[in-house]
């Protein structure tokens, strides 16, 4: 439409690249001014999780595979890279290659087994594999993974430009580059013929089979691409936080990714990114809220739930599932649809609500219009390339 409507991602990217040079304070939202190392690290983590959620949505929103084990590939990239540097004394670049390579191999192997069952069975199998990974990491076999403590990255093997608090800006740019890479890969694959088959599998797997295509191979490719992206994310995480910790492998990490994607809007181009950024930011700020004096002064009925970030996130998640089926990314379309429904008068409404007698009368028109409205950007995406 307008120039801004078409080029806002590029404009946003320029702004994000320039953030480390700014010293604008953002009171309330962030602790320090924009360019300070602490803020840059938080922003880097936000971008990293935004990218991870975007990669995870390749499975959930694009192919319709509900994987509960995505953290495994993130943790594999993280730990293998760290261990390749610690144990084999490889330089960082080589270790990162080894890490991503091993993650891809792991995704091929486990995906080939897990995809033999479909639907919910697949979810449970991926969950079980991820749990095995989490157990392996926390049991510390042969002193390799460092158990609960994790292992710090050896600073002497990192390039000089990546070590130290004065180089946080570089790490932030690396996270931004990873985000751009992920968005590019996801956009490119989704708009390729491969991506159309994925969309077909998501909508109706049986029909894809009837068309003479075997969904298994296509699903495996989606699984491996998403796994590889997560592995690369693990490498970026290693740089950002300076070590590998077992929390990265826990099943909570996958659930967090799931919450991010659903919060932002699964299957949309910007939704998972938005969800990942918001979740990571909220996770940090809610921790501060839990320890703040205002909360400590509240009566127990309010204090106990507010002091548990996981409770707040879980409740928020349930609320989003209920009230915002398309996530935050579907919000503008829902508002527009709501306005249209109000504008066309009451004539159309009774007809629709009569058709879906089970749905509550108020949500009938909105939920009926939302899927169509969220489908439209996807269709444009496909035809634009």
């Amino acid at each position: 439409m307008t120039l801004l409507g078409r080029w806002w991602p590029a404009a946003l990217l320029v702004v994000l690249v320039l953030v480390p040079f700014s010293a604008v304070p953002v009171p309330g939202l962030l602790d320090g001014p924009l360019g300070s190392p602490g803020t840059l690290q938080l922003l880097g983590l936000c971008l990293l999780y935004g990218a991870l959620a975007t990669g995870y949505d390749l499975l959930l929103g694009r192919t319709g595979l509900l994987s509960f084990g995505h953290a495994l590939y993130f943790a594999a990239g993280l730990y293998v890279t760290d261990l390749a540097m610690l144990e084999w004394r490889l330089p960082f670049a080589a270790a990162a290659l080894v890490g991503v390579g091993c993650t891809l191999l792991l995704a091929v192997l486990l995906g080939a087994v897990g995809l033999r069952v479909s639907g919910i069975g697949f979810s449970m199998v991926t969950l079980a594999f991820a749990q095995a990974g989490a157990i392996l990491v926390s049991r510390d076999p042969g002193g390799l993974t460092g158990g609960e403590e994790g292992r710090a990255v050896p600073a002497d093997l990192l390039p000089d430009g990546l070590v130290g608090i004065q180089n946080t800006a570089t790490l932030y740019w690396i996270a931004l580059a990873y985000l751009v890479l992920t968005l590019g890969v996801v956009h490119w694959t989704v708009s390729s013929p491969l991506g159309r088959v994925w969309a077909g599998i998501r909508e109706n797997e049986r029909r894809v089979e009837v068309l003479g295509l075997r969904p298994y191979g296509f699903k495996l490719v989606a699984f491996v691409v998403a796994g590889g992206l997560a592995g690369a994310g693990g490498v970026v995480y290693l740089l950002l936080t300076g070590g590998a910790t077992p929390q990265a492998a826990s099943s909570d990490a996958t659930l967090a990714l799931l919450v991010m994607v659903v919060l932002g809007g699964s299957g949309s181009r910007w939704g998972p990114l938005l969800g990942g950024v918001l979740y990571t930011w909220a996770d940090h700020r809610l921790g501060d809220l839990a320890n703040s004096e205002t909360v400590a002064g509240l009566p127990a009925v309010l204090r106990v739930p507010l002091s548990q970030p996981l409770f707040l996130l879980g409740a928020l998640f349930v609320a989003v599932v209920y009230l915002l089926p398309g996530g935050l990314a579907g919000l503008p379309a829902r508002i527009r649809a709501g306005r249209r429904a109000a504008g066309t008068g009451s004539r159309a409404v009774p007809g629709r609500t009569a058709g879906s007698a089970a749905a509550p009368a108020g949500s009938g028109p909105a939920s009926g219009a939302a899927p169509g409205a969220t489908e439209a950007p996807g269709a444009r995406e496909g035809s634009a390339v």
Binding site: L66, V113, G114, R116, V117, I120, G121, S123, M124, V125, L127, A128, F129, Q131, A132, I135, L136, R139, P141, S251, D252, L255, L258, V259, V262, V304, P305, S307, Q308, P309, L310, F311, L313, G314, A315, L316, F317, V318, V321, Y322, P325, A358, A359, P360
Partner: protein
């Protein structure tokens, strides 16, 4: 020899715990296609309610277990009516809603009673040991096994002898057909949730006995192995779940003892992978 007996009893006791969680999961999944991630939370609710009744309320063990099971059942019915029922037309969102509950409830328990494990009061009649073929086995293993067998028999009787059992079995086979015949499957949904919640909460109360304490993360830890059991047993099959839970419990205990600790948990997952490669439909393939 006595080590083998002890390991067998412990493995079967653990398997019984898995079965109590997995039977409800399997039925709920078979009938409603809902993977209930809040099932671990239900177990935790049952465990904490039983602990609260026994430690704070000062009731006897049996009353505490009954109280825990009751509270868990109530929570389960509430979960179905308030959260799952409005989402019948959106199957994936049902799973996501249970994920949210599964995150929020343990966090709430942690907020109220703290993150540390609370010691579960052991009744003197059940805290001793018995001698089985020369092995010294804690009594609570047999309590768990007895409870699991009881639940299994009750479930089989319910499924095969009662009218609602018939509806549940038919619903697992083909839900659309049952609805088309004019039967309100939704009541069966609530019923299955109640049964599943009761079994899980009973499991939670008895887990307090087995582990000697309750903590907020217990349910989630058990839930993952219950998922493995459900997949292995064939989804929707109660008998399959029973066989698989005994197998998983035994493999885990033996592997943990004879190899390095932690390898047992891993070997269960390897077992799952092998089974899926050989028989993608699970042990039984289909229901009952």
């Amino acid at each position: 020899m006595d080590t083998v007996i002890l390991l067998m009893c412990t493995g079967l006791g653990l398997g019984a715990l898995y079965f109590l969680v997995a039977s409800g999961l399997s039925l709920i999944f078979g009938l409603m296609d809902v993977l209930n991630f809040a099932h671990g939370a239900l177990l935790s609710v049952g465990a904490y309610a039983a602990w609260w009744a026994a430690a704070e309320g000062g009731t006897g063990f049996l009353a505490a277990v009954a109280f825990g099971t009751g509270v868990g059942t109530l929570a389960s019915v509430l979960l179905e009516l308030v959260l799952i029922r409005p989402l019948y037309s959106r199957p994936r969102d049902q799973i996501l809603a249970t994920v949210g509950v599964g995150l929020a409830v343990p966090a709430l328990l942690m907020g109220v009673w703290g993150a540390d494990a609370r010691p579960f009061p052991q009744p003197s009649a059940l805290s001793g040991t018995v001698h089985v073929l020369g092995a010294v086995v804690p009594v609570n293993r047999f309590v768990l096994m007895g409870a699991a067998v009881l639940v299994l028999v009750a479930l089989r009787l319910f499924l095969s002898r009662t009218r609602y059992g018939l509806i549940v079995r038919a619903g697992v086979e083909d839900r659309a057909m049952v609805t088309a015949l004019g039967i309100d499957v939704r009541r069966a949904f609530t019923l299955v949730f109640a049964i599943g919640g009761a079994a899980a909460a009973l499991g939670g109360a008895l887990a307090g006995l087995y582990f000697g304490s309750v903590n907020p993360g217990q349910g989630t830890g058990l839930l993952i192995f219950a998922f493995v059991v459900v997949v292995m047993g064939g989804m929707g099959s109660v008998t399959g779940a029973a066989t698989a839970s005994a197998g998983v419990g035994l493999v885990q205990q033996f592997a943990n003892y004879y190899t390095a600790a932690g390898l047992g948990d891993l070997s269960v997952v390897v077992l799952l992978a092998v089974l899926l490669l050989v028989r993608p439909g699970g042990l039984t393939g289909r229901l009952a």
